[in-house]
Symmetry: C2
Subunit: 373 residues, 2 copies
Amino acid sequence: MSAPKRKPTKKIHIGSVEIGGDAPVSIQTMTTTRTRDARATVDQTLALATSGADIVRITVNDDEAADGLALILWVLSSSERGVPVIADIHFRPDLALRAIEYGVQGLRLNPGNIKDTKKIREIAREAKDRGIPIRVGANAGSLHSQFMEKHGGPTPQALVDSAMWEVALLEDEGFTDIKISVKHSNAWQMIESYRLLSQTTDYPLHLGVTEAGTTFSGGMKSAVGIGTLLAEGIGDTIRVSLAADPLEEVKAGKAILQSLGLRREGADVVACPTCGRVEGDVITMANRVEEALALMKTPIQVAVMGCLVNGPGEAREADVGIALTKHGGTLFRKGQRIREVTADDMVEALLEEAHRIAEGVEEERKRLPVVPA
Amino acid sequence: MSAPKRKPTKKIHIGSVEIGGDAPVSIQTMTTTRTRDARATVDQTLALATSGADIVRITVNDDEAADGLALILWVLSSSERGVPVIADIHFRPDLALRAIEYGVQGLRLNPGNIKDTKKIREIAREAKDRGIPIRVGANAGSLHSQFMEKHGGPTPQALVDSAMWEVALLEDEGFTDIKISVKHSNAWQMIESYRLLSQTTDYPLHLGVTEAGTTFSGGMKSAVGIGTLLAEGIGDTIRVSLAADPLEEVKAGKAILQSLGLRREGADVVACPTCGRVEGDVITMANRVEEALALMKTPIQVAVMGCLVNGPGEAREADVGIALTKHGGTLFRKGQRIREVTADDMVEALLEEAHRIAEGVEEERKRLPVVPA
């Protein structure tokens, strides 16, 4: 199955995670714990990594948060499940310098609210010495007044000019370990901004719709904004910003990448949209199956179809599926019937078959000859 | 606020709803009741229309369903809230002819499963006499074997070839009141198929990801697929196919159009993605506000922000918003503080302000001079 061709960009490294160039599009999210509470923040960070986050951003908004970060980085560095951390810095350059000192893997800086360009240059020098990338960029909501006034509002050109001004500040110090964002809460404005940014620069781009909203409507906005850009080959790392548990952000990010073939991981549940022909409760069943397979890593497609008329045929791409009948369901693999199951056993039978196939896929992979790169 | 420029297509009419040309992108959905149960189907159809569906499709899968359709169309034609109906026909050409006779506003035909081309021509003649448009098109899951074999699978070219073969069948009868779909359950394949179709034809296009899945992950897939195409100017009417209550399909469709500025209707709730700085429960509050404003028609933006530091400034585009504080919240309009509210009164105060603004917007609209077109 193909996927969008991506525009080549400069490659950078956040710890062990590559961003840009030929690297896969990575998923970022942000902790919501108080950073000073190192234990809670480490717990959340590891949970996010387990659920599929490639990089976790942590706010460092005061001295206690910086103290917490020191602890967090130390614990994560000794965890097998460690994940690279980016420190989110606003207003206070000293906190950026502390985060660098503690060994953070990346920085998110807003030069617009740090203001003192001498301090920004100092951070760039320190980050360069340690090989730590910096994300700069503009948010429509906090755009510098000079760019707002020149363009009469947070237009795509205003966002791009602002971001590239920040890039120039870092480049003046010989710092080029950069990624860029131009976020807007309106998906269409965000798309236009990144399209323009992508024409302007070859630095890797961090995509996001800012302040998107609740899980469902914010997820939809983000899918439109981020999805459109990725489908056009634009974007190297993504963050879905939701007013929700950050686990939902990771789930949404995975859904976006999976839908475009940019991440082949986990179960993809297809389900027929229930019509007047349906023999049973497709909705409940599809949701139960999706939930039960949420943590599966192997890429398999599982179908839940409402009737036998077209079910198995329409879902013939599915590795395994069930078509509901008057008395239960018919299990099928790749469009071929396997056996009948009763209504009570359906979900379990389908899940069992899914796990069996997933194991088979893993066995298959192990048998593949190892080809030197 | 701008929106994507759309590719001009031929305009058709489903009852009073225009599709294609300069018409706004319309939202479709499909009933899940048994069509033979006319009462339940009318109830669901009207509920869908009230929630924002522009066109409702109803399956006509057997004789009893056709009997039901006759009743349904008769009741809807006498309802003030009436909405155009499309009959969904598979396998049986006689049911298409009955639907036309009963005054349906549109047909969805699958010539691939009707097979008898004489019958297809007869339907085209009858539909032409009554001015009833027909949607044809291919679904990856039920693609004709001749196109599958030629292209080695349901590739974008196979889907487009199949759809254009169906179009040619109708055109041979002088029938051009057509819209087309090429659906796939994989968003990326679907995007590539419609991109190709849009280059091939000027008929209006009906967009959808087929068998997308559950509300959340199916909604995300659909937002990526449909959203990307709309952002590229492709698509005239949309349907989000979910294994869920069709009201969720309408909600998802509205979210997609709203995010691209293609539909200016209803409240848009923006919310900050909660970080370590948040003073209170943004998540619960944003969800409560969104739910309470779900049926508002006036386009206003409402913000729920977690702190006073950047809240009002970052949400200055919002018509009204609240920034949480240690003791409750600060209400603001367009970035300007109005007053402090206690935690207990916050949601109500915000909603009251939102309704007041919505009324003001409506008053404003009424005062606008009526300009002849």
